[in-house]
């Protein structure tokens, strides 16, 4: 248990000191965080719903819908 805690502490310190000593990396992390926020909190939520997951509860309903889409012409 003690060894595991020590290992976790060492890993944490490794990352903490690594991030702390970054120079150009700080700008890059900011870009990464803004990008991920835009992608997941804006684009995914407001513009890119998974249509089949959102509109149907079960895989059976989804299958039925897709077969209908594939075998009938749109109105």
């Amino acid at each position: 248990m003690q060894n595991a805690m020590n290992l976790i502490k060492r890993i944490f310190r490794f990352y903490y000191e690594g991030f702390k000593s970054m120079t150009i990396g700080k700008t890059l992390w900011l870009i990464i965080l803004i990008k991920l926020f835009v992608m997941f909190a804006v684009l995914k939520v407001f513009f890119f719903p998974n249509i089949l997951k959102r509109n149907f509860k079960t895989d059976e309903e989804r299958s039925k819908y897709v077969i209908e889409q594939l075998t009938t012409k749109p109105k």
Partner: protein
């Protein structure tokens, strides 16, 4: 299918093309630069020369910038699958899901873990473990590319699956057939080696800039040697895998090959066009000469496509009208159906699927078995049933033709360039003139153009298919409002352009600064 909203299909395709092309701006450099860094660090490990460490760290910084800006841009493509291509996403089922899931796990565990050691661990872990981490980052990046390329190869040549009419999904029956199909293997090797060549040209180009400025001369010279050796080996390999890919295209996607070469009328002993210009407005069935001018090598297309200088290569017209003899994947000689016959067979398959569904709802097992049999017998032409016009199986020939010739032409230019650089390095005591250094800088954008052109050949050349012969774009697209797709198209354009500008600005600043701790 004339009722499909083509503007929706076109906007959805444009959106996907935009995001895929921008994503591909970032990926190839990551794939190749990781290995170049690993070789440089290996030299540091072997020699103990601190200059190699400085050199490795400098390229690692540029790698980090590219990785940070590009990371996760591919996820947007997955968003689009769920929203804009929902029919397709469902239809492909676990064929696409399994490789992408493996990619996610690999990318997360290998790249994320070892990138941290690579950047933060210089004075915290042993030299050996650090070197191992750098190599694992390179391997991880390339392995995660493997899975998405396998999925793409499956769309070009659907292997190892069967269609389940109960779920409307393609189900994998043989993972190894999907992973190791000849199209997958060639696509993976050709694509990653294109990344290696691009990265080598990137390193040579930036090093050339330092030499022009008279700065960081040792870094530049050493980087040029490592990158040029790597670039020459991988660019020759790129040509070989390109040959392998073209051979697979000839066997599995003859229409794409015809478009790549602007070949409208098939012939035995078909020549390869080295340079040419197509006649504008050429139709597949008119009598116009397809070329305004051309320089060609006799019989080479037949040889490259079928390994025989006298083999028949079908042209666009032959593939639309059928009637020529070809060898199928089981080695049997067959007479090709016309596009019209394939459309008829496709319609039978689609109707059989509808009838199967109705019979299932009525609980009529005899009818179910009958329609299932009919569906299976015609499934290889399923996608043709959505097309109204035989002409619609013809991709954009000029775009495919010019992209292919730009890609191949630049590929051979890169080989010649690396040979020249290495000749000057090893036989002329590194007396590289200014003209050549400027050319080296110019090679960087040319490498990106060649890389993008390759994807245009692969993707435009296989239109109208999302999955070859089985699902066209018109049937794969979600029936959503086209204006919503237009909005996200421009949104992506703004986001990706901003990211690209950010990358270029940070990268240029860093290049101007040079290595953090000086250097010779």
């Amino acid at each position: 299918m004339e009722h499909f909203d083509l503007s929706l299909v076109n906007w959805s395709r444009a959106q996907f093309a935009l995001t895929a092309m921008y994503h591909w701006v970032f990926v190839p450099l990551t794939l190749g630069l990781a290995f170049i860094m690993a070789f440089m660090e290996t030299l540091y490990y072997k020699t103990g020369d601190e200059e190699w460490k400085r050199i490795t760290k400098f390229w690692m910084t540029l790698f980090g910038i590219n990785f940070a800006i590009g990371v996760a841009t591919g996820i947007i493509l997955e968003f689009e699958f769920g929203t804009n291509w929902s029919n397709y996403s469902w239809f492909v089922g676990d064929i696409f899901g399994a490789p992408l899931a493996i990619e996610g796990i690999m990318a997360f565990f290998m790249e994320s873990t070892f990138i941290a050691v690579m950047f933060f661990g210089w004075n915290k872990v042993s030299k050996k473990f650090h070197l191992l981490s750098t190599w694992l980052v390179a391997l991880g990046a390339n392995l995660s590319a493997l899975w998405i390329l396998v999925a793409n190869a499956w769309m070009q040549y659907p292997a190892g699956m069967f269609f389940n009419p109960d779920t409307a999904r393609n189900e994998m029956h043989n993972f190894w057939e999907v992973l190791l199909s000849p199209v997958s293997v060639n696509k993976f090797l050709h694509t990653i080696s294109s990344g290696y060549v691009l990265a080598a040209l990137f390193v040579v180009g930036i090093s050339a800039w330092y030499l022009l400025k008279g700065r960081n001369v040792l870094l530049a010279k050493r980087s040029i040697i490592v990158a040029s050796v790597f670039g020459l080996i991988t660019s020759v390999f790129l040509a070989l895998t390109g040959d392998g890919s073209a051979y697979q295209v000839a066997q599995k996607q003859p229409m794409k090959l015809a478009a790549m070469e602007g070949l409208y009328e098939g012939k035995e002993g078909a020549p390869l066009i080295v340079i040419g210009a197509l006649t504008p407005g050429k139709q597949y069935n008119d009598n116009k000469d397809p070329y305004l001018f051309r320089i060609q090598i006799p019989k080479l297309l037949s040889f490259l496509g079928y390994r025989s200088g006298d083999a028949f290569v079908p042209g666009v017209k032959d593939i639309v009208e059928g009637g020529y003899t070809y060898t199928d994947k089981d080695g049997n000689q067959k007479v090709a159906l016309s596009a019209e016959q394939k459309i008829e067979r496709g319609r039978i398959a689609i109707q059989a699927l509808a009838d199967y569904k109705n019979a299932k709802e009525l609980g009529d097992t005899t009818a179910m078995a009958y329609h299932r049999k009919l569906l299976d017998a015609n499934f290889e032409y399923f996608g043709y049933g959505y097309l109204n016009d035989p002409k619609s199986i013809i991709p954009n020939v000029p775009l495919t033709f010019y992209s292919f010739h730009i890609m191949v032409g630049l590929g051979f230019l890169f080989i010649a360039f690396f040979i020249l650089i290495l000749y000057l390095v090893f036989f002329k005591e590194f007396k590289i003139n200014k003209w050549l250094l400027r050319t080296a800088i110019l090679m960087i954008p040319l490498a990106y153009i060649a890389s993008q052109a390759g994807w245009i050949v692969a993707e435009v050349g296989r239109q109208p298919w999302v999955i070859q012969d089985i699902l066209p774009t018109v049937a794969a697209v979600s029936r959503i409002d086209a204006s919503a797709v237009q909005v996200t198209f421009f949104l992506f354009f703004i986001i990706f352009t901003t990211l690209l500008i950010a990358e270029l600005r940070i990268m240029f600043t860093q290049i101007k600064k040079g290595p953090k701790d000086g250097g010779k």
